[in-house]
């Protein structure tokens, strides 16, 4: 049977780690959707701030009609990447036609999902059935654009606009803040690399699934991203506090450049990181740490997990 637009089911996947208060706002935003997802899948990444008790209580009191709630308590923190991988797998297992994924600090506006699904289906009507995802416009809580979450437009980004769809922009890479992914994409291209733990998992995944057909950003589907400071990041900003996160970034992005794009791209990436670190005056010790991550990237090349198969063990 081929499902029409009104029969399509969506599983909302939220990954959370020690942000209980923000998570509560996320859940309220979900409950307020004009088009309710058929499933809420909350992945608790072994939080230590009482999120587990809250979610158990939330589950026992949950009474939203027509919505199935799934809470997954992971035994350890597997990072955003591991959390999305687990949540998307569960969405697939529950038979959802789409998973709609975001972090625990993204608050979708009431019509965000309805607009996202409409935008996706419009793109399919115009571009064909192979559109791999639709993502929302991500705004900072003050209403300005979120510096960190801007998708990368294609060279012909205005193609759908030319056809009269002023709310749709064709994009490739996007971040995991309100991304609607169809089931067939997970089956054909697998899940995000859980081994990435954090950083570049979203970029890698959206690049992976847009090799043939671009995704779309739906400009009138809006999500507010409640991040601390609205600022983009680059390798000149590395300091003692954030170095752990940048280390994942260097390893993951280095691995992607080398194993998916080739040696030249890898070397360019390494050179770029080195230049940025020098320009930013990053401490020598931290620079050495980043260089060691580049070395690690040579051997770090995880394989794809597919939801229709058991997950591979992390080495």
């Amino acid at each position: 049977m081929t499902k029409n637009n009104t029969e399509q089911t969506v599983a909302a996947v939220v990954v959370t780690f020690n942000r209980l208060e923000k998570l509560k706002t996320v859940l309220q935003s979900l409950e307020a959707q004009t088009k309710l997802p058929e499933q809420f899948i909350i992945v608790n990444n072994a939080s230590t701030d009482g999120t587990d008790q809250f979610l158990e209580k939330y589950k026992s009191n949950f009474s939203l009609e027509g919505v199935q709630l799934e809470v997954i308590h992971l035994p350890e923190n597997v990072g955003g990447a591991g959390g999305f991988s687990a949540g998307m797998r569960r969405g697939y297992e529950l038979g959802a036609d789409f998973v709609w994924i975001f972090d625990d600090d993204g608050y979708p506006q009431p019509d965000a999902l309805a607009k996202l699904v409409d935008g996706f289906n419009t793109a399919v009507d115009e571009l064909g059935p192979d559109v791999p995802f639709a993502c929302s416009m991500v705004k900072y809580i003050d209403g300005t654009i979120c510096e960190m979450n801007n998708p990368v437009p294609t060279w012909d980004w205005g193609r759908l606009q030319a056809l009269g769809h002023s709310n749709l922009v064709m994009v490739t890479s996007a971040s995991f803040v309100s991304v609607l992914i169809p089931r067939w994409i997970m089956e054909a291209y697998g899940l995000p690399y859980k081994e990435y733990f954090i950083w570049f998992d979203d970029a890698e995944y959206t690049l992976r699934i847009t090799k043939v057909c671009p995704g779309v950003e739906v400009l009138d589907s809006v999500v507010m991203h409640d991040m601390g400071v609205n600022k983009g990041v680059n390798f000149s900003m590395i300091d003692e506090k954030n170095a752990w996160k940048f280390a994942y970034g260097v390893r993951n992005q280095g691995s992607y450049r080398l194993h998916h794009e080739g040696k030249a791209k890898f070397l360019l990436f390494c050179a770029n990181v080195a230049i940025q670190m020098r320009r930013g005056g990053v401490a020598r010790k931290l620079r050495r740490q980043m260089y060691s991550k580049m070395w690690e990237a040579l051997r770090f090349n995880p394989s794809v997990d597919y939801p229709q198969q058991a997950a591979k063990e992390v080495e």
Binding site: M1, T2, N4, D125, L127, G128, P129, D130, W184, E187, A188, Y189, G190, K211, V212, C213, V304, Y306, Q308, Q309
Partner: protein
């Protein structure tokens, strides 16, 4: 039969203004895409290709337009068609070709070819590799030497055909996933069942819709299937201009002309699933159709009660025996092997150990012309013997051997023989070149499809079969029915109908030598000719004691009706 709705009457009229052949090719293509994409509205762009191309109807070029739009062709017709198919399982619009995803832009680019296009046009424009060019030169300038070399290959091929191989594995999702070399792990697609009131149908799987012995028999089975009360669903899997698509036998049938590669998923021959959901498929008749052979495991896995029968004509020298080999390797999934000659029956049962109860020798002999009705046709002229060749101009028919024979006879007895070559095919240019080189272009009368074959038999005194390989040729039976004897290379099961005095050695060298002697005997003494026909007629009568293919298949179809 339409599985779609067109966007406007105007476009229907535009389609109707095309030739019947082109209309039917469009219908075949749009039905295919509508069946595997239920409910979707697709935009169709119809292009007219060159005569040296073959129609592209269902392959991946119809999705990416590489042979049409990307080649800067202008569509002759465009329309939207919405599939009216009510599916009973999920038909994904996402397909992969190896590691590559096939992008679907909601458009299908269909390439037709002019009605006058022939295989010769395609052959004349096909790119030649160096080796192929050398082969073609040898074929024209040293055909005997070339055939000596081919004879070595044939002997090796015969030996290969006797080798035993493991039965084919069903290409299930589990099996393919276990191979490891897959783009992604495949998920089983389980077909739905048809509606209780679905039309009863029999799938007839064919090579193509153009002339050939196997196709003539397949055409007859289309009529038999209709008479038995089933809808014939015709599948073909080989590139062709499909000239026979206009034949009245195909009126009120569903035709799906496949052009490869298709949109298919591992473990899911999508168009077959669609057909099994839309129809109550009561059986499969396979006539030389590799794609259906490759997918009968699927039929037996999901519809085990659906009977499968194949018709086999000839053991090839290559591919370990050709279609009979394909059949043997899939014997577990085939209920009946219909063969048309004792040679093939022996090959199947004694060499390959197929259960004798499953192999039925039912010859393609029309019993309506029995021995009593058949009468000997006297020689047309006392001082001239007319020698005929009837067949497709294909390598298998070894037309160069016939032309060599003509050249030799003309040299030995100038003016004593008249030659007719009747047939068309991809080697028309080669025929002309050889005849020119041997200086016999003027003494051979070339006839094409514009002349009826019966007229050629009527005008001839003897039929010569120069083929490299045959089962039992229909032309042998037709010639005997027309009252003229047959001389044949000793190939396939020709010995069943032709006595030793009418047979020649298999190689070109032996064929020309032996047949030239026989022709001399026939020229000098009419009694020899009559005796040969009598001997062949007696063998044909004996052969005709077997239940004919027509009677046998009619009986099988009656059984399929009862099974339902």
């Amino acid at each position: 039969m339409h599985f779609y709705e067109l966007d406007s009457l105007e476009n229907r009229e535009k389609i109707n203004s095309l030739s019947i052949r082109q209309q039917r090719l469009i219908e075949s293509a749009v039905n295919y895409h509508s069946l595997i994409q239920p409910g979707r509205t697709l935009h169709y762009k119809i292009y007219m290709g060159e005569s040296w191309q073959y129609p592209r109807l269902t392959d991946t070029s119809t999705l990416n337009g590489v042979l049409t739009e990307s080649a800067d062709l202008t569509p002759v017709l465009e329309f939207d068609a919405t599939s009216t198919v009510q599916p009973h399982s999920v038909f994904s619009p996402h397909y992969f070709s190896g590691d590559e995803q096939i992008l679907d832009r909601n458009i299908r680019y269909i390439l037709l070819t002019p009605d006058e296009a022939t295989d010769i046009d395609v052959e004349a424009n096909s790119p030649r590799r160096k080796l192929s060019r050398i082969y073609s030169k040898l074929e024209v300038h040293a055909p005997v030497l070339l055939d000596d070399m081919r004879e070595l290959r044939r002997k090796q091929g015969e030996a290969d055909g006797r080798k035993h191989e493991k039965h084919m594995e069903a290409q299930t999702v589990e099996h393919v996933n276990a191979q490891g070399d897959v783009q992604h792990p495949w998920v089983e697609v389980i077909p739905g069942t048809p509606a209780p009131d679905a039309t009863k149908a029999v799938i007839i799987a064919m090579h193509w819709l153009q002339g050939g012995g196997a196709e003539r028999w397949a055409l007859e089975t289309v009529d038999l299937v209709k008479k038995a009360g089933f809808l014939p669903v015709i599948i073909t899997d080989r590139d062709s201009h499909q000239p026979w698509i206009t034949r009245p036998e195909f009126d009120d049938t569903l035709i799906i002309n496949l052009t490869m590669p298709l949109q298919e998923r591992v473990g899911d021959p999508t168009i077959l699933r669609a057909l099994f959901e839309q129809f109550n498929v009561c059986g499969l008749l396979i006539h030389h159709c590799q794609w259906v052979y490759d997918n009968i495991w699927w039929v037996k896995k999901y519809f085990p009660r659906t009977p499968v029968m194949d018709s086999l004509h000839i053991v090839e020298y290559k591919f370990g025996g050709g279609y009979p080999r394909e059949s043997v390797l899939r014997d577990n999934w085939i209920d009946i092997h219909h063969v048309i000659s004792p040679q093939l029956e022996t090959w199947m049962t004694e060499i390959h150990g197929i259960n004798k109860d499953k192999v039925v020798d039912a010859p393609l002999v029309d019993l309506t012309v029995n021995g009593e009705d058949r009468t000997y046709q006297k020689r047309h002229s006392d001082d001239k013997l007319t020698v005929a060749f009837v067949g497709r101009l294909a390598r298998q028919k070894r037309l160069e051997a016939f032309i060599l024979l003509a050249a030799k006879m003309e040299k030995m007895h100038p003016g004593a023989y008249r030659f007719i070559m009747h047939g068309s095919g991809s080697m028309g240019l080669v025929r002309d070149e050889i005849a020119e080189r041997l200086g016999v272009a003027d003494i051979i009368e070339f006839r094409g499809n514009e002349t009826k074959v019966s007229k050629t038999y009527e005008d001839s005194d003897v039929l010569v079969i120069s083929s490299i390989n045959e089962g039992i040729t229909l032309t042998t039976i037709e010639a005997l029915n027309a009252g003229i004897p047959v001389l044949s290379a000793n190939v396939g099961s020709q010995y069943t109908l032709i006595p030793p005095q009418g047979l020649s050695g298999r190689s070109t060298r032996q064929f020309v030598r032996d047949t030239s002697r026989s022709l001399e005997h026939l020229l000098t003494d009419e009694t020899n000719r009559k005796n040969l026909w009598n001997a062949e007629n007696a063998r044909l009568n004996q052969f005709a004691q077997l239940e004919t293919a027509t009677a046998f298949v009619s009986r099988v179809l009656e059984d399929w009706k009862k099974n339902d």
